[in-house]
Symmetry: C2
């Protein structure tokens, strides 16, 4: 929004069926395709950003199949791997993600295609801790330390020399300060959201031209949630860093 | 199963849409009614045990409306409150539960009807900790201590003198040893599952007569899950304390 304020943004949060990260590929693909069809067929989206690592890792092809081929579909795995490639000197990277994302090995595959070796670790407690609002809590710091110690020890046992950590879940940037405090000295941390925004702005500029010199400061925004709109307004505002609302209730039939 | 081995049991786990405890009444009621209709209309159930505190607290009436009036529907809130009534000398009880159950105040209402004062506390991290398998982990002990300290302090501030704690979520009995170690000395802990089993056996004996003297030792069991059957077999076995399977995949349309 900061970099392409001329675009219109429509956000769907499938809150009635979250979290995706503990579910199977089949179920995640069905849910993600329903949201994608809503955004394209009913909201007229020209670009789809799959702003969820789990859905990007397990359902990108299903989402592309579910919508018109004229729609550009952008996941978060490939830009995250590209940012890791730019960051890493040793060629070895660590990935923290949900259970489903790790089991798909989407990051390992995307990193391998760029000549990187990636070691992935499922961190299922981090999403609930962020949802609970414990983003600066000592329990969260302790859980991060436990997960990272296991991940770093496993990397050492495999003879890897990682210098980069990819945050493979959209919830993790909210606890980035705690993660920064826990990683070994000198390790760089990649938040794929930045890379995704780069790529989306490139698409927009190619298709629509550069943003107008006097771009609107307040882009047009619309929010949908499949469960309680009040809860989404509360949590969404914490994620976005500005008030979210009004939120509209969306029935995807599930 | 131990006490009514002559009955046939069919279990539905709506794993594609779990957890219910963080969702709205409207969504929980819709999901629970779909499972109830499946059990009654397609599996021929005569009794429904709503073995989930959140669904019992928020959707018991919706479930009763969704199925034939000849079906006995048994939630876990009322038996839990009855057990608290039998346990408490002071008349003041504490309840740990999910966010949705606490917001419904179902336990406070059921306890008040029995002359008890109940103070409820949402403990949203406990379900993810159990699902992660950290049932004897020091992080789980620390989270329990934080929740209980807040609950006990709030009770003291309100002038309550609680002597009984109700475990208001089906996941919590798996961490009962950690909770026992954290409660003030002398506090009794209520697991409503025991009370529910009492009540169900009473129904069954009234309707079907006493169990046969040579009851089958292995009751007839059938399991359905709406997401990964492999994951359900793994986690379900941990909950039941014996192998669960085979599990059948169920599509409730969501």
């Amino acid at each position: 929004m900061a970099r392409a304020p001329q675009a219109h943004y429509v956000f769907v949060g499938d809150t009635a069926r979250l979290p995706y990260g503990s579910k199977s590929r089949r179920t995640i693909a069905r849910y993600a395709a329903q949201s994608a069809r809503f955004l394209v067929e009913e909201q007229g989206a020209d670009y789809l950003v799959i702003a969820c690592n789990t859905a990007s890792a397990l359902a990108l092809d299903d989402i592309k199949e579910a919508v018109s081929s004229s729609v550009s579909v952008l996941g978060v795995i490939e830009p995250g791997a590209a940012a890791a490639r730019r960051s890493s000197r040793t060629g070895d990277v660590l990935v923290m993600a949900t259970d489903a994302t790790v089991q798909s090995h989407a990051y390992a595959t995307a990193c391998a295609a760029k000549g990187l070796r990636a070691l992935e670790k499922a961190c299922p407690l981090l999403v609930p801790l962020v949802e609970e609002g414990w983003t600066a809590h000592q329990v969260t710091a302790e859980v991060i330390r436990i997960y990272l110690d296991e991940l770093v020890a496993e990397a050492a046992a495999k003879g890897l020399n990682p210098d980069t950590l990819v945050l493979g879940c959209t919830h993790y940037p909210l606890i980035k300060p705690l993660i920064e405090a826990a990683v070994p000295a000198g390790m760089k941390i990649i938040d794929s959201a930045e890379s995704v925004a780069d790529k989306l702005v490139m698409y927009l500029c190619n298709d629509l031209g550069a943003p107008p010199a006097t771009a609107p400061t307040d882009p047009q925004l619309r929010f949908f949630a499949t469960d309680s709109v009040e809860k989404f307004e509360r949590l969404g505002s914490r994620f976005l860093g500005r008030p979210v609302g009004p939120v509209e209730l969306l029935d995807l039939g599930g």
